[in-house]
Symmetry: C2
Subunit: 312 residues, 2 copies
């Protein structure tokens, strides 16, 4: 197993990526890593942090896509950037997964244009972890990539989310809820009204019906589907809670779950290979968790299971 990691992505690159590798190694995890970035800089840091360089392959890249660059333009104009080269290696099969905490848009462009959507999947998606009062995690999708959706897209999100919840979050037969503004079938906007019967008909998922805003932090559904506009507003609202908790000196295990950094990053679901996108502010722990997630996605063959579902 060979996991590719963009060393130049994120606000604290490459130092926090290095710290993440160290934490990953300390947890006795032995996947081989391929590191994309400035070789001299990365080598020096690897040595400084006492990381065995035999467990990593270094691929020297000379360009960096900044956080605020226009994604398609940057991907075109910076062919030797760590993200561009990382995707080349992923496409060729030199690495089995690619991780970056860099420009999210560029990561999406790379995913859609070099790795491409799995046949049959109309809209690859990104999800988000949602804290639950009982200490478990829910999985909400779409978290902001697809802001206008068709009912069929929500069904595909539900299938992708269910496979992720089952394989990666270890939830057998995950309950799927449609985020809506009423409990009964027939409630909601045009999209939710049209998606409900399609979700009900889809035999490969465990659809439990509508859930409302008040259910999002409760363990009512394991997989919560909506278009990416509502999903993104919910995600950013949830992400805003932890700073309040910290600033006010509140210590509480439920609210500690709102520290989104601990979740590392999230996979782009629906593309042909494992791609994981991290938050720009990712620190060591987040990088470690992203590498662990990639390792788990490969070990469980999540992609194989998704492809099997969509091609049969």
């Amino acid at each position: 197993m060979n996991i590719g990691l963009d060393m130049m992505g994120g606000d604290y690159a490459p130092l926090e990526a290095i710290k993440g590798i160290k934490l990953f190694r300390e947890a006795n995890q032995d996947a081989h890593l391929t590191l994309f970035g400035d070789a001299e800089l990365v080598n020096t840091l690897l040595a400084e942090h006492g990381i065995d360089q035999n467990t990593c392959t270094l691929v020297h890249t000379t360009q960096v896509i900044d956080m605020h660059e226009h994604p398609t333009k940057a991907m075109r104009e910076k062919p030797d950037s760590s993200i561009s080269i990382g995707f080349q290696h992923l496409a060729k099969g030199n690495v089995d997964a690619f991780i970056s905490a860099g420009n999210t848009g560029a990561m999406m462009v790379g995913s859609l244009f070099s790795i491409k959507a799995i046949e049959g999947i109309h809209r690859p998606t990104i999800g988000a972890y949602m804290p639950r009062e009982n200490g478990k995690l829910g999985w909400l999708l779409d978290a902001g990539i697809n802001s206008d959706c068709k009912p069929e897209n929500l069904v595909q999100f539900a299938i992708l989310g269910s496979l992720f919840a089952e394989q990666v979050l270890n939830i057998p037969n995950p309950r799927v809820g449609l985020i809506n503004i009423g409990e009964e079938e027939g409630k909601g906007n045009i999209l939710a009204q049209a998606a409900y019967p399609l979700l009900k008909e889809e035999s490969s998922i465990n659809f439990i019906g509508n859930i409302e805003g008040r259910d999002i932090f409760l363990d009512k559904a394991d997989v919560m589907v909506c278009e990416g506009f509502t999903g993104n507003v919910v995600l950013k609202l949830a992400e805003s809670v932890y700073p309040f908790i910290q600033a006010r000196g509140i210590k509480d295990p439920f609210f500690d779950m709102f520290e989104f950094e601990q979740y590392g990053g999230v996979p782009v679901l629906g593309v042909n290979k494992p791609v994981i996108i991290g938050h720009g502010i990712s620190h060591g722990k987040a990088f470690k968790n992203m590498i662990t997630l990639a390792e788990l996605m490969i070990r469980k063959d999540l992609l194989g299971k998704i492809k099997e579902k969509f091609t049969t």
Copy 2:
């Protein structure tokens, strides 16, 4: 000034409405009240709570619309319900405002069919208070009545919300933010992309641009506009926070603001007369606050100001 109050609406009717009247009177507020409900029951409770019956007019009604009845059906089949009779009195001008913590759908039907939308307003709306970390309140609309919207609807919500914020929340020149999934113009779903330039052009509001989910509990915009799907999910999510806080024994002034009951109810903005809808679980304090809100809306002539804006 004569404020109409449905005594039979809400989960704890009519006792909590009585308690609300008592609290309102104790605050030395002297608006005359017209109470719609079972006269014997209400009279007994007024006497028991030592409320001066000269400050109230009782209108006996024999029917009650339950919380879960189908709104239009219930309004048609229960012409002598407290809600139906209340709206009749409001339409005739016997009362200057009408308040109920009963069936929200029936209150909307009454608002739209007996009071009607103000000329020029396409979609009357309901807003929601949003707690802010600095102790102030924001105003989000639409909170769930209009789940599919056109860009022009959002502009009208912004105008209505601005007048409400200015007159009732006492915020001069309120800042209007468009709830979106990115900061820059051009971001978002089709609706948000189309609404942005219209909001920018609308000279009667102080449009500050897009705000994101993370800004909702921050004092970034006073008035936050979106369609009612996202708004309702956000509202119900926010409403779910206080029970967690209570259950976990957290005491904090910011999180105390998530006790939504304290805000009483919210007005239906865009109809010809003041109508206020409360939460089914309203207790005395909520009823008191709803009567106070009605009194303030009448005293400030909010409706006159809205009509002036939309007819010129």
